[in-house]
C-alpha cells in the first residue's frame, strides 16, 4: 500500500524538479532576449553622427532624410548582421561539439571556418561582376563542404572516432590558413588589402542584400537542427548507446556536419574572421543551463548574438571614431568571461 504512494510522491518530486530546471532554462533564455534587445537599443542609439535613440526611433518610420539613411542603411544592417553572425557561429559550434562529442570542436578549430574563409577570399580576389556576393557566399559554402567532407572521409576511412575528426579538422585548419597566407604572399597589393580587410573581420561592408543571403543560410536550417536535438542529446551518451536507442549515428553525424558547414559559411563569408564565438558560446550556455540540446541550441545562439553585438558596439564606440576590429574585441570580452565561468563552475559540464 505504501509503495505506490511512495512512488507517486517520488514521481511528483521529480516532475517538480524537472519543471524547476526547465523554468531555469526558460528564464535564462528570456534574460538573454532582454539582454539582446537592450544591447540592440544601445547599438541603435550609438554612432558617430548626432542621431540618438529618440531620433533613431523617429527615423525608423520616416521615408527619407539623413537620419533615415543612417538608421536603415548603416546601423540596422550592422545590428541585424551581428545578431545573425553570432547566432550562426554559436549554433554551428554547438552542433559540431554534439556530433563530434568533443568540447574542442567549433567552426574554427575544425578548419571549416578557415576553408570557408579561403573560399570567400578566393572569390573576393578572382571574382567580379554583378553577382559577386553570390559568388562569395557560394564559394565559401563550397569550401566549407569540401573540408567537412574531407574530415568525414578521413574519419570513415579510419573508423569514425571523434578524435580522428578533430585531428583531421585541425590539420584542415592549418592547411587552409596556409593557402590563404600563400594568396596573401603572392597576391598584388590590392588583393592583399582585400584579404587583410577580411581577416580583420568587419561588419562595415554589410548591406541588406548580404543580410538576406546570410539569413537564408543561417536561419533556414535551424528548425531542422531543433528537430534533431533529441538525437544530439543521445549522442552524448556514446555511439553505442545512441545506436541502441535507435539513433542513426552515421547519418546524423553526416547531415549535422553538412548543415553546420552551411551555417558557418553563411556567418563567415560577408564579415570575415570573427573567432572564438563558435567555441565559447556553447560552453557558456552549457555551464548555465546544462546540455539538453532542445534548450542548448537556441540559448547558445542567443549568447552568440549577444556576444557579437556587444563586441561590435564596443568596438565602434570605445575608441571612437577609430574602430577596434571586431575579431579583436570578441576575444577581449569573451576570454575573461569564459575564464570566470570556468573558475566558478561547481560541477563537470562536459
Amino acid at each position: 500500500m505504501c509503495i505506490p504512494h511512495f512512488r507517486y510522491f517520488y514521481m511528483q518530486e521529480i516532475c517538480e524538479q524537472y519543471r524547476g530546471l526547465t523554468g531555469r532554462k526558460v528564464s535564462f533564455m528570456i534574460l538573454l532576449v532582454v539582454l539582446l534587445s537592450g544591447v540592440g537599443l544601445i547599438a541603435l542609439s550609438q554612432g558617430a553622427s548626432s542621431v540618438g535613440l529618440k531620433d533613431s526611433f523617429a527615423a525608423l518610420f520616416e521615408d527619407s532624410g539623413v537620419a533615415h539613411a543612417i538608421v536603415w542603411k548603416l546601423r540596422l544592417p550592422r545590428i541585424v548582421m551581428a545578431i545573425l553572425v553570432g547566432c550562426g557561429l554559436a549554433i554551428a559550434g554547438t552542433v559540431f561539439q554534439a556530433i563530434l562529442r568533443n568540447p574542442l570542436a567549433s567552426p574554427h578549430t575544425l578548419g571549416i571556418g578557415s576553408s570557408a574563409g579561403f573560399g570567400a577570399v578566393m572569390a573576393i580576389v578572382f571574382g567580379g561582376g554583378l553577382y559577386k556576393e553570390y559568388l562569395i557566399a557560394g564559394n565559401a559554402f563550397l569550401f566549407a563542404l569540401l573540408s567537412s567532407s574531407l574530415i568525414l572521409g578521413v574519419a570513415k576511412l579510419k573508423r569514425s572516432t571523434p578524435e580522428t575528426m578533430i585531428l583531421a579538422g585541425i590539420a584542415m585548419m592549418f592547411f587552409f590558413s596556409s593557402l590563404s597566407s600563400l594568396f596573401q604572399y603572392m597576391g598584388t597589393m590590392e588583393e592583399v588589402h582585400e584579404i587583410v580587410f577580411w581577416f580583420f573581420g568587419s561588419l562595415s561592408k554589410v548591406g541588406w542584400k548580404e543580410i538576406s543571403m546570410a539569413s537564408v543560410m543561417i536561419l533556414l536550417p535551424i528548425p531542422l537542427l531543433l528537430k534533431w536535438s533529441w538525437d544530439f542529446n543521445l549522442l552524448a551518451a556514446g555511439d553505442e548507446s545512441a545506436k541502441a536507442l535507435g539513433v542513426n549515428v552515421t547519418r546524423i553525424r553526416m547531415v549535422g556536419l553538412v548543415v553546420a558547414s552551411l551555417i558557418t559559411a553563411g556567418a563567415i563569408c560577408f564579415t570575415g574572421v570573427i573567432g572564438f564565438i563558435g567555441l565559447v558560446s556553447p560552453h557558456i550556455t552549457r555551464m548555465v543551463i546544462g546540455g539538453d540540446h532542445r534548450f542548448l541550441l537556441p540559448a547558445s545562439a542567443l549568447v552568440g548574438s549577444v556576444l557579437v553585438l556587444t563586441a561590435d558596439t564596443l568596438g565602434r564606440t570605445l575608441w571612437a571614431p577609430q574602430v577596434i576590429p571586431i575579431g579583436i574585441v570578441t576575444s577581449f570580452i569573451g576570454v575573461p568571461f569564459f575564464f570566470y565561468l570556468l573558475m566558478k563552475r561547481t560541477r563537470e559540464y562536459w
Binding site: G47, A48, S49, S50, V66, A69, I70, W72, K73, L74, R75, P77, T188, M189, E190, V192, H193, E194, V196, F197, F200, S202, S204, K205, G207, R316, A320, P321, Q322, V323, I324, P325
Partner: protein, 352 residues
C-alpha cells in the same frame, strides 16, 4: 763577457726592429689602400649615423622607391640586384628588368645577395628587420636604410644617396626640382582660408589615413583638411557612419593597383569609384552628391612621386586656383627628365 752580453742584446734589438719593420710594411700597404678609399658618414632613415666606404660600385636595391631614385640619379648601371616585383613591371623598368632578382622587398634571399657580392644593399627603414644587417655585415656588405616615400624626408634622403653614389650634382638637380614644384603649390595655396574637408581612404576599405601616414601628409600639403587629422594612429579603421557624420567635401580613394604604367583602360579605377559612390547611405555625403570622388593609383600616392599625387589633390581641392595647371604634365616632366622613360599609363579617375 760583458761585451758578449751587449752584442747579444744589440742583436736581439736588431732582430726585433727588423721584425717590426717587416710587420709594418704590409700594414702600411693596407693603410695606403684605405686612404685611397673614402670613408663618409651618413644618416639613414632611422636617424642612425653610419660609416660608408666609397666608392660604391655594386648595388642591390630592394625597394622600387629607392630604385626610382637610383635611376633619377643616373646610377642605374651600379644596380646588380632588384626585387621580384620589378620584373612584373617591365615597361616601367626597361633597362633594369633583366637584372637578377633577389626576392621580395620585405623578405630577400640573403644567399642570392651574398652571391652577387654587392658593396651595398638599400632597403626600407623597417623592412626587412635587423636580421639583414646580422647576415650581411659579416660578409662586408653595407646595409643602408632609406625610405624615399615621405615627402618630408625625401629631399634629405636623395642628398644622402647622392653622396653615397657620388652623384651629388644629379641629387641636387632632383631636389631643386622638388623644391621648386612644392613651393609653387604652397605659394598658390597661401591665400586659401576655406579648406575642403577630405575623407582619405587608404588601400583597405574603411581604413582612413591619420597623422603619421603618407596619405595625411599629401592631403595637408595639397591644402585639404583631413577629417581624420586628429586621430591617434596612422591607419585607423572607421565606420561608414563616421564618414557620413563628417560630411566631407571631397573623397580620395587610394588604390593599390599595380602596373598602372602599362594600363591604358581606366576601367579598374572606374569600378573602384563606382563602388565607393554606391556604398549604403553615402548618397547623403556632399562629396558624393557633387561627384567629387577621386581615385588615385598607389604609384603617385606615396613614394618618390607623391608630389604628383599631391598636385592632383590640389587641383581637385581648388579647381579654380589650379585651372591652368595640369598635373599630368608634371608627371610627364618627371618621367621623361628624371626617369628617362616616356609618359604613359592611367593614374587617376576621373581624369581631368
Amino acid at each position: 763577457m760583458e761585451l758578449l752580453v751587449i752584442m747579444k742584446r744589440t742583436l736581439i734589438v736588431q732582430v726585433v726592429i727588423l721584425f717590426l719593420f717587416c710587420l709594418s710594411v704590409p700594414g702600411k700597404a693596407i693603410t695606403g689602400q684605405d686612404n685611397r678609399m673614402e670613408l663618409i658618414k651618413v644618416q639613414d632613415a632611422q636617424g642612425t649615423t653610419l660609416e660608408v666606404r666609397l666608392p660604391v660600385k655594386k648595388l642591390v636595391v630592394l625597394t622600387s622607391d629607392a630604385l626610382e631614385i637610383v635611376r633619377a640619379l643616373k646610377a642605374e648601371d651600379l644596380v646588380v640586384g632588384i626585387n621580384t616585383g620589378i620584373v612584373k613591371d617591365p615597361l616601367f623598368w626597361p633597362r633594369l628588368k633583366h637584372r637578377p632578382a633577389v626576392g621580395r622587398w620585405s623578405e630577400p634571399n640573403y644567399e642570392l645577395i651574398a652571391e652577387l657580392n654587392p658593396d651595398m644593399v638599400i632597403s626600407y627603414a623597417r623592412h626587412p628587420g635587423a636580421e639583414m644587417e646580422k647576415k650581411l655585415m659579416p660578409l662586408g656588405i653595407r646595409v643602408i636604410r632609406l625610405d624615399f616615400y615621405k615627402i618630408r624626408t625625401l629631399e634629405k634622403e636623395v642628398k644622402t644617396l647622392g653622396r653615397i653614389l657620388k652623384k651629388e650634382k644629379e641629387a641636387k638637380e632632383l631636389t631643386a626640382w622638388y623644391q621648386r614644384k612644392l613651393s609653387w603649390v604652397r605659394e598658390k595655396l597661401k591665400e586659401v582660408n576655406d579648406r575642403p574637408a577630405v575623407y582619405v581612404e587608404s588601400y583597405t576599405g574603411y581604413h582612413t589615413t591619420g597623422p603619421g601616414s603618407g596619405g595625411n601628409e599629401i592631403c595637408v600639403l595639397a591644402g585639404g583638411h583631413n577629417i581624420a587629422s586628429n586621430f591617434s594612429i596612422p591607419y585607423p579603421q572607421v565606420t561608414p557612419e563616421w564618414v557620413l557624420a563628417n560630411n566631407p567635401d571631397v573623397i580620395i580613394k587610394a588604390t593599390s593597383l599595380s602596373n598602372c604604367y602599362a594600363m591604358a583602360d581606366p576601367g579598374p579605377l572606374r569600378t573602384t569609384r563606382h563602388r565607393i559612390m554606391a556604398r549604403p547611405a553615402w548618397d547623403n555625403i556632399r562629396a558624393i552628391k557633387e561627384g567629387r570622388v577621386y581615385v588615385m593609383a598607389g604609384d603617385i600616392w606615396t613614394g618618390p612621386r607623391a608630389i604628383i599625387g599631391a598636385s592632383y589633390m590640389a587641383k581637385w581641392f581648388y579647381p579654380d586656383i589650379f585651372k591652368a595647371f595640369d598635373p599630368k604634365e608634371l608627371h610627364r616632366e618627371y618621367l621623361e627628365r628624371f626617369q628617362g622613360i616616356k609618359y604613359q599609363g592611367v593614374y587617376v579617375y576621373p581624369s581631368l
